[in-house]
Amino acid sequence: MKMLQEWHNKSLQDKIFSMILLVLCIFVIMITLYPMLNVVAISFNDSMDTMRGGINMLPRKFSTYAYASIFDKNYFLSAVTMSVLRTLVGVGTSVPVMVMVAYVISRKEYVLRGITTRLMVYTMYVSAGIIPIFFLMRTLHLTNSFWVYIIPPLAQAYFIIITRTYILSLPDSIMESAKLDGANHFTIIFKIIFPLVKPVIATLVLFVAVQQWNNWYDTFLYNSSNQELSTLQYELKKMLAAATIKGDANSMGNSESGNFLTPVSIRAAMTVVVSVPIMAIYPFLQKYFVGGLVVGGVKE
């Protein structure tokens, strides 16, 4: 009722403006959501039926066979394990490390503060490039190893700066009084800093988790010869490459125990599986990242 009343009170020009806005918003929502929903619909549609085309936002002939077939593949479980493992270990190691480093370089008395900060900030702009880094990883025996997922991205300048900025905004008196009470730096970090920077920790956890989950590039570059270290993203990437090389993906339907499956269906199911964790944490993500991004955007 109230909305109608408001609508009635608007001038004609305002009404047109609001209508255009509404149309534009729906357009943006459709353009963003439709391709995603379409993949979900295809993944749940019967494989042969999909070839007829015209699947929109809902499956026409419901089937979970594409999912059943990827869950059956022997690489699938190990890829899931690897993706989950790298995300958990990555978050569990890099977030505490980055908070501790951020605390240390926020201490004004720290002798190596200037040089450490400067060297760290430059890493955001200077990179040796793919080949020298590849050689370094090989020299350090990080290729063909799980640790290439964990150690190189352990402490990233951008996140450390966000955390340091937050720590610097805390009142110094808290740290001072803790020191007077005889607390050492480790006590301060674990008993005072960690609880106080919770919003930043939440941001870091989510950003690092997304980064770890989404990364395919390190698998491709360093671990591609070792199937055991393959991740979900990399398996999907291999499927994509196979489909583009073959050109017409639809022509290679294969038969498995009377059921037909096309690469299009398998790829769609795989795409959905790979994105489910991200979509699941997305609502929690939202609350934190805007602040994090703005801090980063200004300081970048």
Partner: protein, 317 residues
């Protein structure tokens, strides 16, 4: 006498050091490993640039320093058609991403800001930055589906609207690759970039809008003469940051969306380095390509930062 003086001087210096170490050992326990980590992973690889000036052959008997050839790799690079093409593609797609990416993000921010219905506003914003969190692998899987020649939604829509008579092979024809790349970039990232512009819009004083309203300005005029001009400093600084990163735009999407039939327009310096360097073992030549990219990148960043400091009084570093 003199000797003892020097000795005490030395002594006080060392004792001061010892004292600092003793006082700050806890900070150093965390700080020094981090310093070593940074040096190892960011600065040690810089020594690998030496390879760009040698003719490195991977074998147990040669070291990186053998077969010094001077600038020969660079000479070869600039007479190499494939490299020049990937340089052109890198710059072109980078520029398209920056210009159109900014335009769309600003447009989106202005649009979302004008929506007065809170529910609609929230939904539009939430949905628009959703693709940012998908990996490029997932995004390209979706995009390849949408743009596919048989049954892709883009073709179906254009056929339905009778804009085209026959489905277009968007991902298999090289003349369309830049369009595919930039559209993908806009689809995936403009919602996310718009957050920065939206937060800049909220900082604009409401008084200006009220004054304009009293003067009889309509909403279009308010956008045109208040919001947009107030956004200009933010647009400028974001633009400068992006230009500094021009050569680093993309790569993942070019690698994932490209295929052998569009390679002439999809190859960028980074994919070139991977294919010729790591893929085919031409380490020195590809390092030279990477070094060229890094040096141009650093020059761009420093220049952009200087311009930014002059133009807006704010530098990035």
């Amino acid at each position: 006498m003199v000797r003892s003086l020097i000795n005490t001087k030395k002594k006080t210096k060392t004792t001061r050091w010892l004292k600092t170490i003793k006082q700050q050992y806890q900070l150093l326990i965390i700080g020094i490993p981090f310093l070593i980590y940074t040096l190892t992973f960011a600065y040690v690889p810089l020594a690998g640039w030496v390879m760009a000036f040698t003719n490195y052959k991977p074998s147990p008997n040669t070291s990186m320093l053998d077969n010094f050839v001077g600038l020969k790799n660079f000479e070869r690079l600039f007479s190499n058609e494939v490299f020049l093409r990937s340089l052109r593609n890198t710059i072109a797609m980078g520029a398209l991403d920056i210009v159109l990416g900014t335009v769309f993000a600003v447009f989106l921010a202005l649009m979302i800001n004008e929506v007065k219905n809170r529910g609609l506003k929230k939904i539009t914003q939430t949905v628009s930055y959703m693709p940012h969190f998908l990996s490029w692998v997932v995004a390209s899987s979706i995009i390849l589906g949408v743009m596919s020649v048989d049954g892709g939604e883009l073709n179906e829509l254009l056929l339905f609207l009778r804009i085209i008579d026959e489905p277009i092979n968007w991902i298999g024809m090289e003349q369309y690759f830049w369009f595919v790349s930039t559209t993908s970039q806009i689809w995936k990232e403009s919602g996310w970039t718009a957050i920065i512009y939206l937060s800049a819009i909220t900082a604009i004083s409401m008084d200006m809008y009220e004054a304009a309203k009293i003067d009889g300005a309509n909403r279009f005029q308010a956008i045109r003469f208040i919001t947009l001009p107030s956004l200009m400093p933010t647009i400028k600084i974001m633009f400068i940051i992006n230009v500094g990163n021009l050569l680093n735009q993309g790569f993942e999407k070019q690698y994932l969306l490209g295929n052998s039939s569009v390679i002439n327009f999809a190859e960028v310096i980074d994919t070139y380095v991977i294919r010729y360097g790591i893929g085919q073992g031409n380490y020195s030549f590809a390092t030279a390509a990477g070094l060229f990219k890094s040096v141009v990148g650093i020059i761009l960043i420093i220049t952009a930062n200087k311009i930014s400091k002059k133009a807006t009084g704010e530098g990035v570093f």
